[in-house]
Assembly symmetry: C2
Homo-oligomer: 241 residues x 2
């Protein structure tokens, strides 16, 4: 490739322009951050692992009719993507209570929710990515009511597909974050990544509440063996069921 | 009165039992707290002022068809109330952006909202009274969907009545907090108090963003002349228009 121009550098990825204005190259970094950037570190091999996991899961979702920004993986830690304008929302789907939901409601970690809960957070580092009510989301004009419903439906469909996929591999999909974007034709695509950085994944063979954790919570809460857990998720994702 | 048994002591009021199991006596205190109890102090004369303002506004709302827990004011800082079981929600109505809405969304203070915004916060000191989405409120079973709609409708009606009342007295009702409770017959009543402790009130004759403040923000942000502002609100509330 020719010398590449950086389009955007985030906490976990760098986006580069390509010859095609409608595609970008994503470079997955080993850098890890948590608590809105207050905790910083690195997870050995994370870039390539998350790139591969995301590629596999985007392909799975495409097969099941979900449009994503994924085009192809071109290097261990690089994938070609359709260029999108990101909707400044973090769409969270929760099957079990964990993380900020527990902190903000007092629900016990691991409480099984009767129905999957779709939540919207404002993707805004300065404000600390706050929880949004639908009324606030609409007031800030971050999406239209129709787009909110579209996001909710897509998120729930992704949840159905991924929950079953991980369940078949002995992993509980506790919750996860999705981001979406509009391409140059105005189509709403699933974007960002799907990886142990963005999903809470619990190993069903482990009952201990620390040992079961296979995701970024190992980094957030210094549970150790972070890279081994990410590697294990990759192996499970690649295994045929 | 005979020796009274304390039923409950909150930050701004003490509730005492009476001979009638369906009524309680509320004693309004001069104590003031802010930021979930982190800031503590006292506002001279506040108990009697807030008691009188609340009595006047509850009477106004009763005349306009809103059922409240108010029965009668019996002392300068004491009122007789119907006993209710409080719904653990703070129902906030906002006409202009201020306070936590600005902190959590980046909206500028004073932004006029196209429509009044009704929000629900979890009345839970341990959790810091967090914002609730409707989905979280229902998940926590803090109210039924029908009760949420009832609360929203009542809150909007209270807003219409109070906004007009204050507007006629040269005061902008920026936002306010309501609490509701169920009486022994299961009727939903407006409860708590309505005062400069629970409303943001801006003097329309003042353009300076500090001088216009007539409510607890004077205490929260050390703007001075707190008791004078409360006294001025009382005089405006008592004035005939």
């Amino acid at each position: 490739m020719s010398v590449r121009q950086k389009l955007y550098e985030g906490k976990a990825k760098i986006l580069y322009v390509t010859e095609d204005p409608d595609t970008v190259m994503a470079h997955f970094k080993d850098d890890a951050t948590a608590f809105n950037g207050q905790k910083q570190g690195s997870i050995s091999g994370k870039g390539a692992i998350n790139c591969k996991i995301s590629a596999q899961l985007f392909e799975l979702l495409e097969e099941r009719g979900i449009s994503t920004h994924f085009l192809e993986q071109v290097e261990p830690n690089q994938m070609l993507l359709r260029r999108v304008k990101i909707v400044p929302l973090e769409v969270i789907v929760r099957n079990l209570a964990a993380g900020s939901l527990c902190k903000q409601t007092g629900l016990a970690v691991g409480t099984v929710l009767k129905h999957p809960l779709v939540e919207f957070f404002y993707k805004n580092d300065d404000l600390g990515d706050p929880l949004l009510t639908i009324a606030r989301l609409l007031l800030l004009e971050l999406a239209t009511p129709e787009q909110v419903e579209q996001l909710r439906e897509k998120a729930l469909l992704v949840n159905e597909i991924l929950s079953e996929f991980f369940q078949n591999r002995g992993i509980t999909l506790v919750d996860f974050k999705l981001e979406f974007g509009f391409d140059s034709q105005g189509e709403l695509l699933l974007a960002d990544e799907i990886s142990p950085d963005t999903c809470r994944l619990w190993n069903q063979l482990e009952t201990d509440e620390n040992r079961r954790v296979m995701d970024k919570d190992r980094f957030r809460f210094d549970l150790g063996e972070v890279d081994a857990a990410y590697q294990q998720v990759l192996e499970k994702v690649l295994s045929e069921k």
